[in-house]
C-alpha cells in the first residue's frame, strides 16, 4: 500500500479539528497535505511527500480518472459545508449530514494527497443551478433532493470508472472503498427522504460524459 495509510492527511488530525475544518467555509483541503502543513504531524508530511512522488509515476489515464473523482468529491464537499454553515437542517438529521460531510472532505483530502501536484483545483459551484434550486440551503426537502442526486451520481460515477483503474490494485481498491461509502450515504439520504434505499438489485454505472452532464448545472462556467 503506497498511499492507503491511516496517518495520511485527515487521519492524523484529531476529530474536533476535523469537524472544525469541515464546517469552515474555505477549502482548506483543496491542496491536501500542503495546505495543512502547519497543522500536520511529521508522519503526515512524510506520507504526503511520498504521495507526491507516487502521483508523478501514475499513468495519465489514472490521473485523469482520479481528477474526475476529485471534482465530484469537491462538489459534494462544498455542498455539505455550505449546508452545514446554514441553520436549516432539522436537529434530528444534523449528525448524519455532518458525518457525510466529514467523509466527503476526507475523500477530497485522500484523492488530493494521491494526486499531489496533479490534482485539479476545486471548481466553483452554484448549488441553486442558476436559480432552479434557489432554496437549496433553506428548504430541507430541496437540500435532500440534491443530496440524493449527488450521492447516487457518485455511486454511478465510481462504478463507471472502475475499469479505468484496473491496472493499479491499490488505487482500484481505494476507489471501490469510496464507491461503497457513497452508496451508504445514498441509502441513508434516501431513507431520510422517505424513499427506499435502492432502486433494485443492481446499481447501474454512468459514463464520465453522463456524470459531467448531470453535474454541469451545479458548476459555474
Amino acid at each position: 500500500m503506497k498511499f492507503i495509510n491511516n496517518t495520511t492527511v485527515i487521519g492524523a488530525l484529531d476529530p474536533d479539528l476535523v469537524s472544525r475544518l469541515v464546517t469552515n467555509r474555505r477549502g482548506l483541503f483543496t491542496k491536501a497535505a500542503w495546505s495543512l502543513g502547519a497543522l500536520a504531524s511529521a508522519p503526515m508530511i512524510l506520507a504526503a511527500a511520498s504521495n507526491e512522488v507516487f502521483a508523478q509515476s501514475l499513468p495519465q489515464q489514472i490521473v485523469d480518472t482520479l481528477n474526475f473523482a476529485l471534482t465530484l468529491e469537491h462538489i459534494e464537499d462544498a455542498f455539505y459545508r455550505s449546508a452545514l454553515d446554514k441553520d436549516f437542517i432539522p436537529h434530528e438529521h444534523k449528525a448524519v449530514f455532518q458525518h457525510i460531510g466529514l467523509h466527503e472532505a476526507a475523500h477530497v483530502a485522500f484523492l488530493s494527497g494521491a494526486l499531489g501536484a496533479a490534482a485539479v483545483k476545486r471548481p466553483e459551484a452554484d448549488f441553486t443551478a442558476g436559480g432552479k434550486y434557489a432554496d437549496v440551503f433553506s428548504n430541507f426537502d430541496t437540500f435532500l433532493t440534491l443530496s440524493q442526486t449527488f450521492e447516487d451520481l457518485g455511486v454511478a460515477a465510481y462504478k463507471g470508472q472502475a475499469g479505468n483503474l484496473i491496472e493499479n490494485d491499490d488505487i482500484l481498491t481505494a476507489a471501490l472503498q469510496i464507491h461503497s461509502v457513497e452508496a451508504r450515504h445514498a441509502a441513508q439520504v434516501r431513507r431520510i427522504g422517505g424513499k427506499k434505499a435502492w432502486d433494485g438489485a443492481f446499481d447501474e454505472p454512468k459514463t464520465k460524459e453522463e456524470v459531467l452532464a448531470a453535474a454541469q448545472p451545479f458548476l459555474k462556467v
Partner: protein, 226 residues
C-alpha cells in the same frame, strides 16, 4: 440484462489469474459441521471447489450470495414477532435482491458454478429481531468488504463492472440494516466500517471465508495454490 449476462459468461474462459492463494494444501478447511440443518441446499455436503482466476472469484461471490439469499429467505419465511411493516418491506426487498444476485452469478458461471451450498443458521434466533438484524448487518458489511477486496483480483473489466453493480446495492443494504439497529445515527456508515480516510472495508477472500465459515456446512475449497 440478457446481453450483459451473455457477455459476462462468455469471457469466463479468458480468465487466467490464480487468485486464491492459500497455503496448506489443496483443501482449505472451511467446513463446519453443525447440528440441525435447515432445508437449504443439498443434504449431502459435497465440496465446493471455487476454481481458479476470475471463475474462482465469481464462485466466491456466488457462495456469499447463496448464503445471503438463504438467510433472508428464512427471515421472511419465519418473521420475528415484532417485525414492522417498514422492516418487512426492507427485508423482503433485500431477500429479492440477494436471490437476483445469486441467480445472476449462477447464470454467468453456468457449468462452472459451484453446487448449492448447505448452510447452517443454528446460531441465529429467527424469532429475535436483534439476532436477525445483527446477522444481517454482519453479512452485509462482510459482503461489501468482500467485493471491495476482490475487485483487484479480477482480470476482466466486465466482471469488475458486474461486481460493482452488486456491491453498491450491498452497501445500501448495510446502511439500511444498520439504521434499523441504530435509527437516525451515523451507524449507517459508522467508524467501525468507514475509516478516517472515508474508506469502507476491503477484505481478502481468505478472511471473508473464515468469517462466513460458521454459516456454511459445505466445505469450500480451492485447488488454486500458487
Amino acid at each position: 440484462m440478457q446481453t450483459q449476462k451473455h457477455d459476462f459468461g462468455e469471457s469466463l474462459a479468458r480468465s487466467r489469474r490464480h487468485v486464491l492463494q492459500w497455503t496448506g494444501g489443496a483443501v482449505a478447511a472451511l467446513a463446519l459441521f453443525g447440528g440441525s440443518l435447515p432445508n437449504f441446499g443439498i443434504s449431502q455436503a459435497l465440496a465446493a471447489d471455487l476454481g481458479e482466476g476470475d471463475i474462482g472469484i465469481l464462485n466466491y461471490a456466488y457462495a456469499l450470495e447463496q448464503l445471503e439469499a438463504a438467510f433472508y429467505t428464512k427471515v421472511i419465511e419465519s418473521p420475528y414477532g415484532d417485525m414492522s411493516d417498514d422492516e418487512k418491506q426492507i427485508l423482503t426487498d433485500i431477500r429479492d435482491h440477494e436471490v437476483e444476485h445469486r441467480d445472476f452469478l449462477k447464470g454467468a458461471l453456468a457449468d462452472k458454478a459451484i453446487p448449492d451450498l448447505e448452510v447452517d443458521f443454528s446460531a441465529v434466533d429467527f424469532a429475535s429481531r436483534h439476532s436477525v438484524l445483527e446477522t444481517a448487518r454482519t453479512f452485509e458489511d462482510l459482503g461489501v468488504a468482500a467485493y471491495n477486496g476482490a475487485g483487484k483480483l479480477l482480470e476482466s473489466g466486465d466482471y469488475l463492472l458486474q461486481a460493482g453493480r452488486i456491491v453498491s446495492v450491498e452497501a445500501r443494504h448495510a446502511a439500511a440494516i444498520r439504521d434499523l439497529l441504530q435509527p437516525g445515527t451515523v451507524a449507517f456508515a459508522g467508524p467501525e466500517v468507514v475509516d478516517m480516510n472515508g474508506l469502507d472495508g476491503a477484505l481478502e477472500p481468505a478472511k471473508v471465508l473464515a468469517a462466513a465459515d460458521p454459516f456454511i456446512v459445505t466445505p469450500v475449497t480451492t485447488s488454486s495454490i500458487k
